[in-house]
């Protein structure tokens, strides 16, 4: 099956009216039932199936129009290997389902809404004077608009409530504060994380409201961070608030071997069987003290990061137009004269044999901008997000970074550790089925 985003056919966009009670469920079948089976097979009609949506050739017009969709079904969830969309929300929930059966109902409902929202379609008609089936935020038709819904579980879901303790992913734990963290419980942790990413802010908001409405009995929003990605300035990887290109070094999402080594959990002990195809997700809310940062001379900023500010290239590349794709190399610089030993990127990946196993993560971060604090200071920063096959990789990396030179300019104050579920395979599958159907 194609792992490219699908394009809505005219047939599909014209929509098919179905009975409201069966709509959500049957919507999965619409593509096949609408007489465009060939298009379904080619991945042209959502919800499609993917090995894991990934880097792609964006068709700008389709993206602008919100017509493009990422396949929902697949071995892995979309929104991980997917090239980051412009807008995102990270929603952390406390699960309130009373028991395992209600939890299953919750996961099924979440699955139905995610499958519909990511594929798009016409909301079902409702009788007069009934609540509308859709808020019409996206117009007459729910546009897929590159939406991905990515569901992950926190360690707290595996406490005694649902009898899942023995099935907890081997490395999943509640995020502990690193040195210089200032974790606020109100914006940390959670039983369940929903990551919504899409081409536009309204699509993300629409998806959030839809999911909240359909899962109200089973979970309650605990905290949320909205993020966005900037356009390339002028080329390459987008910059963060600090003016540096962020998230340059990543595994190649198209390289299955590399993704299977570094991101996707593989079958076999010590991980419980149901986790295969999932991945550990880390979200960290990192406030940046930008007034302070922007008084630091650029040379010093570059020394702190270990990259050139304008180009994003490693320190050895002096041209302002050097590519941000150049690899950092420190091997002939053991004293850190060119790339400081305690700069951000060198601590993240020191390129030594001892750290080789704890240096590869898939970065997928966003920037945030929230209400100012009580003193009137802007609250802007990084909604850091990364995925890795082993949570220990991230913890080891962040432990190396505990005393990095960036410390005075940032304050990590929220987020959590989660386990992003394996993909939903098909219309008969649902989020966490492998977990919930274990004896």
């Amino acid at each position: 099956m194609s792992d490219k985003p699908s394009r809505i056919s005219e047939d599909w966009r014209n929509g098919v009216v179905v009975g409201s009670r069966r709509f959500q469920r049957r919507s999965f079948l619409l593509g096949a039932a609408s007489g465009v089976a060939g298009a379904v097979a080619a991945g042209l009609v959502g919800p499609g199936v993917a090995e894991g949506a990934s880097k792609d050739d964006y068709n700008l017009e389709e993206t602008r129009a919100g017509l493009r969709s990422f396949p929902f079904y697949g071995q892995h969830q979309a929104g991980i290997a997917t090239a980051p969309q412009t807008a995102a929300s990270f929603l952390a929930f406390d699960v309130t389902a009373a028991n395992r059966a209600e939890l299953t109902t919750l996961f099924r409902a979440l699955t139905r809404r995610a499958a519909f929202l990511t594929a798009g379609g016409t909301p079902p008609p409702v009788p007069p004077n009934s609540p509308p089936s859709d808020d019409r935020l996206l117009g007459p038709t729910v546009l897929p608009d590159d939406l991905t819904v990515t569901v992950a579980l926190g360690a707290s879901l595996f406490d005694g409530r649902y009898g899942l303790g023995a099935l907890k992913p081997a490395q999943l734990e509640t995020m502990r504060a690193f040195a210089h963290d200032d974790l606020d419980p109100a914006i940390s942790h959670g039983d369940l994380l929903v990551q919504l990413c899409a081409g536009h802010r309204d699509t993300v908001g629409h998806a959030m409201l839809d999911i909240l409405a359909h899962t109200a009995g089973g979970m309650r929003l605990r905290w949320r961070i909205d993020g966005f990605r900037f356009p390339p300035r002028p080329v390459g990887i987008p910059r963060d608030w600090m003016g540096f290109k962020d998230g340059i070094t990543n595994p190649d999402p198209d390289n299955t071997t590399q993704m299977n080594q570094e991101v996707w959990v593989q079958p076999g002990p010590p991980e419980p069987a149901w986790t295969a195809g999932g991945t550990y997700q880390v979200v960290r809310i990192i406030r940046m003290f930008l007034d302070k940062w922007h008084t630091v001379p650029v040379e010093e900023q570059e020394r702190i990061f270990g990259r050139r500010k304008l180009s994003g290239a490693p320190m050895y590349a002096t041209s302002p137009t050097a590519s941000d794709e150049l690899d950092p190399i420190y091997t002939n610089d053991p004293q850190g004269l060119l790339t400081a030993l305690n700069c951000h990127i060198r601590l993240a990946n020191p390129q030594t044999p001892e750290t080789a196993a704890t240096s590869a993560i898939l970065r997928r971060s966003y920037q945030y901008d929230r209400s100012p604090d009580v003193e009137g200071n802007p609250d802007m920063g990084h909604a850091f997000c990364c995925f890795q096959q082993q949570l220990a990789t991230y913890i080891a990396m962040q432990t190396r970074l505990e005393d990095e030179m960036l410390v005075p300019y940032i304050s990590p104050n929220g987020g959590g550790y989660f386990f992003a579920l394996p993909g939903v395979r098909d219309a008969h599958d649902y989020y966490g089925r492998g977990l919930l159907t274990q004896p």
């Binding site: 050895y316 590349a317 002096t318 041209s319 050097a322 590519s323 794709e325 150049l326 690899d327 190399i329 091997t331 002939n332 610089d333 053991p334 004293q335 004269l337 060119l338 390129q351 030594t352 044999p353 001892e354 080789a356």
Partner: protein
């Protein structure tokens, strides 16, 4: 160690002249070779000599041994920690490996394909580049962490001198007469010249920014220095110390080697993924060979008459390039993050 010392001393006895001529020594872009090498090869009637290529793999702590007749990896051997530069003894029996992460030089027995012993260096040495004297009696080790060059007597396997040089030395080359060693001091933007009889500094030549590799022409008359940060190659006269040319050479030239006939200088350009070819007669860049895209990271280069070998740190490969056609003939998968490369033509 005792056994090794004994056997090595025996091995260090004078060799037949042809063997000496065949003793092509390449390490870290340093090429020490007699001018008669090409003649020796043609005299034996062998156009493609049997040879072994040794590649250190920095991140998985191994040495790849490659059969030069078919460019296949024939052995992958655990070595120390963060192996960096490598040099092969003129008799081909030993490969000396700078253990960048372990402050030691490992002595690899090419016959048994095991580490025979290890020469400890002081803590913090951070050895990177290595070069042997032409007859193999002394190994010069650029200790990038301690701003020194360790001189190892290969017969006794003892450090007989520790020469203070410039800041963060990473590459070293020895003149074909064995009289001088040239050290690229990446951190102080210069090249230190060591008189190997006294093991003292007799000159310092200003290079470009962050000189990362140095090589000498077979006549010993010119030094070529790859300046990683200024993106150029400094050419200076070894007799006068005068800089005679500064040649723009790629984005981030990282290492340099001369061809055995002295006509060509090859520069590994880390940034562009290219090999830059300089004609030493006109001192101009005459060709660039694309080895791979961004992320290939050409690293160290070694040259023989019929092949140029380039370790590609990012691609985890050894590229074999035909010096006549400038085509990549083959690409050999090696270990994780290959660093140094040395060629032994007498395998």
């Amino acid at each position: 160690m005792r056994t090794l010392r004994h056997s090595h001393s025996a091995a260090a006895r004078p060799q037949p002249r042809t063997l000496q001529w065949l003793a092509l020594l390449v390490s870290l872009g340093m090429l020490a070779v007699t001018g008669s090498l090409a003649a020796a090869w043609s005299a034996t009637g062998s156009t493609i000599p049997d040879r072994s290529i040794y590649v250190t793999n920095q991140l998985d702590n191994t040495l790849s041994v490659i059969d030069g007749s078919n460019d296949k990896v024939v052995a992958t051997v655990p070595v120390g920690t963060s192996p960096a530069g490598v040099a092969v003894s003129p008799d081909g029996r030993y490969a000396y490996i700078a253990e960048g992460g372990a402050n030691a030089v490992s002595v690899f027995d090419t016959g048994s394909r095991t580490i025979a012993t290890s020469v400890p260096l002081p803590a913090g040495s951070g050895p990177r580049g290595v070069a042997l004297s032409p007859k193999g009696e002394f190994l010069y080790v650029a200790d990038s962490g301690s701003d020194r060059v360790s001189v190892v007597d290969t017969a006794t396997l003892r450090v007989v001198a520790s020469v203070p040089v410039g800041r963060q030395p990473v590459s070293v080359a020895v003149t074909p007469d064995g009289g001088s060693a040239y050290v690229a001091d990446a951190g102080s933007d210069d090249v230190s010249v060591i008189d190997t009889r006294t093991n003292r500094i007799i000159g310092v030549v200003t290079a470009g920014q962050f000189p990362a590799g140095v090589a000498l022409t077979p006549d010993g008359g010119s030094a070529y220095v790859a300046n990683e940060l200024s993106g150029d190659v400094t050419v200076f006269n070894t007799r006068s110390g005068a800089v005679e040319a500064t040649l723009p050479a790629g984005t981030s030239p990282f290492d340099v080697a001369t061809s055995p006939d002295g006509l060509w200088v090859y520069v590994a350009d880390l940034g562009s993924g290219e090999l830059v070819v300089i004609d030493t007669r006109v001192r101009k860049v005459v060709a660039t060979v694309s080895i791979g895209p961004y992320g290939t990271d050409p690293f160290n280069v070694a040259a023989t008459d019929d092949a140029i070998y380039v370790t590609n740190q990012g691609a985890n490969t050894l590229a074999v390039i035909d010096p006549r056609t400038h085509h990549v003939v083959t690409t050999v998968s090696v270990g994780n993050s290959p660093y140094g490369v040395a060629v032994d033509p007498v395998s």
